[in-house]
């Protein structure tokens, strides 16, 4: 066979596979983050939605006192939910960039490179997380100005960062999967709209699970957003309580992410066909 004598020494990136993988992942993320730096307008538009929710919905509902918040002000109760929501809304439409880049021909360039398919997926996940962390900083700033009782200890803040990154990664990878399945921008926009509402309202983002009818509570319990909000509520707010515990919250998010990345890696090359 003509290739029998091929030796591994012939390849350029024949170093440690783990290091190669990390390098490829970072390269994919870097391409996207550099674009964001050239044109950061997108970040500004991402700040409008959480601002409207906190300033309008939050201010009004704080006065109603109908939502059982476990003894904290409603605005405080909903702030982690709004952070999770703005991350969700940004991440769930992330897949459209894949369709766009496919139409341009940019995706092909990545697919003919020796980078692992999972590195291509994870790189995009990281760049989506970078956007979400910018949103997080903005929500913190807004919450501070609205006198939300924020926790400032380093451990809790680190936990918030991890929860935001995990949540963003789960939903942006989910979005990549949707993009690989529907393949066109028009269909994707339709799907995105259909997904966001149930994901947001069938969760504990703006009201506790205890207020829900039994069936909706079960839907919420398979929604990763619920676990992200649960963790954020404990880690972000003074007096905020977690219903499931940090172990369950982060465990569910990590498992959901592993599942999503697994599926997305299989589907990613099909985006061009």
């Amino acid at each position: 066979m003509s290739h029998a004598h091929a030796s591994p020494a012939s390849v350029l990136d024949e170093g440690n596979p783990a290091i190669d993988f990390a390098r490829q992942t970072v390269a994919v993320a870097e391409a996207d983050i550099r674009k964001l730096i050239h044109d950061p307008v997108e970040l500004l538009t991402r700040m409008i939605q959480p601002m409207l929710w906190l300033l309008i919905f939050g201010e009004v509902f704080t006065r109603t006192r109908v939502v059982p918040t476990g003894g904290i002000r409603y605005l405080d109760f909903m702030t982690p939910g709004i952070l999770a929501q703005s991350v969700l809304f940004g991440a769930i439409f992330y897949g459209i960039s894949l369709i766009w880049e496919r139409d341009l021909g940019i995706v092909h360039k990545f697919l003919v490179s020796p980078a692992a398919r999972s590195a291509l997926v994870l790189g995009r996940t990281i760049s989506s997380s970078a956007r979400s962390l910018c949103q997080m900083i903005f929500v913190y700033l807004l919450a501070f100005l609205l006198h939300v009782q924020l926790r400032w200890d380093v451990g809790a803040f680190a936990g918030v960062v991890v929860a935001v990154v995990l949540g963003s990664s789960v939903f942006s990878t989910f979005s990549l999967i949707a993009a690989c399945i529907v393949k066109s921008r028009e269909r994707f926009m339709g799907i995105g709209q259909v997904l966001t509402m149930p994901l947001f309202f069938a969760s504990n983002a703006i009201y506790p699970l205890s207020m829900m009818p039994e069936w909706l509570r079960w839907v919420s319990k398979v929604n990763p957003l619920t676990y992200q909000v649960d963790a954020l509520r404990h880690l972000m707010i003074v007096g905020g309580t977690s219903s499931f515990g940090m172990g369950v919250d982060f465990g569910v998010m990590v498992l959901a992410l592993a599942l999503m990345v697994g599926i997305a890696t299989r589907l990613y090359p099909t985006i061009i066909s």
Binding site: H3, L12, Q24, V26, A31, I106, K109, F110, P114, I272
Partner: protein
């Protein structure tokens, strides 16, 4: 050979210089179906190392499908091919390390600078940090893009974008470069510049170039061997001069194409092909 330091080049240890690999590309009854349509039909062809090989045919002849299979973007329905000695079905990652590819569409990212486009490619291909800057500088210089390297690519002219894409696909010194309609949408002047670059690449790096085109003049000027593709199969293969000579002294390559395939090169293709070509032309402006 000022532009390439052969001694410091990892490619030097590549097996494709070994005695058992004779051909850059070697297809074995490679076939691709889309539903009932057979885009590439049991095609067997070899491309010798170091040559400029042109695949000619109208839109829809199966050229792009064949290139996509050889670059591992699409898997064959039947048959296989060896690219740089590796099986595209069983060893796609090894194949990817050995090839460069410039798609018919624009693969350079308009929202990044020329330098950044090259930097990302260098990182994807695992070019060591110590060599990265020098390789990028050399590629920019080679493609005469040094002066615009910090400009966003969306402000480049069509010819500059194509040259950047070729630079990008050459950064890891592939042994085979696949160019899918490299000059589509370019004006005659930019076209000639790209031809010159392709010749230089072959001369300087010994790269095998497999390109598709439906521009007869381009094939005649550039390619040492051409293969006429029609409805998923090869009608004929040979040096342009021989194909023309077989039909008489005044025959053109276009005449040869009609003679061997029974069709004009402008025929064929569907609305998708036309739309894609137009989009590329429009973006190259």
């Amino acid at each position: 050979m000022a532009l390439v330091d052969k001694a410091g080049n990892l490619q030097e240890a590549a097996p494709d210089t070994g005695p058992t690999v004779i051909n850059a590309v070697d297809t074995r009854a490679i076939t691709r179906r889309f539903g009932t349509l057979v885009a590439v039909d049991h095609l067997t062809v070899t491309v010798p190392n170091g040559s400029i090989f042109g695949l000619l045919g109208p839109n829809g002849a199966g050229k792009s499908t064949l290139i996509k299979m050889l670059t591992t973007l699409l898997s064959p329905s039947e048959g296989t091919a060896y690219v740089a000695g590796f099986d595209i079905v069983r060893e796609p990652r090894q194949v990817r390390r050995k090839i460069g590819y410039v798609s018919q569409m624009l693969s350079a990212d308009g929202d990044l600078t020329g330098y950044e486009n090259l930097l990302i490619s260098a990182k994807l291909y695992g070019i060591p940090r110590s060599e990265r800057a020098a390789r990028i500088a050399r590629a920019l210089e080679f493609m005469k893009l040094m002066h615009v390297s910090d400009k966003l690519v969306k402000h480049y002219s069509g010819g500059m974008i194509r040259r950047l894409e070729i630079a990008q696909s050459m950064l890891h010194h592939p042994s085979i470069l696949f160019l899918d309609e490299p000059t589509v949408g370019l004006d005659p002047f930019a076209k000639r510049a790209v031809w010159e670059d392709i010749r230089d690449l072959q001369r300087e790096f010994g790269t095998t170039i497999l390109m598709t085109t439906h521009d007869m003049l381009e094939a005649d000027e550039l390619c040492e061997t051409v293969a006429f593709m029609h409805q998923g199969t090869l009608a004929v293969i040979g040096p342009p001069s021989e194909l023309k000579a077989a039909l008489g002294a005044s025959a053109t390559l276009n005449d040869a194409f009609i003679h061997y395939t029974g069709a004009a090169i402008t025929e064929g293709g569907d609305i998708k092909d036309v739309a894609r070509t137009r989009l590329t032309s429009q973006r190259l402006g």
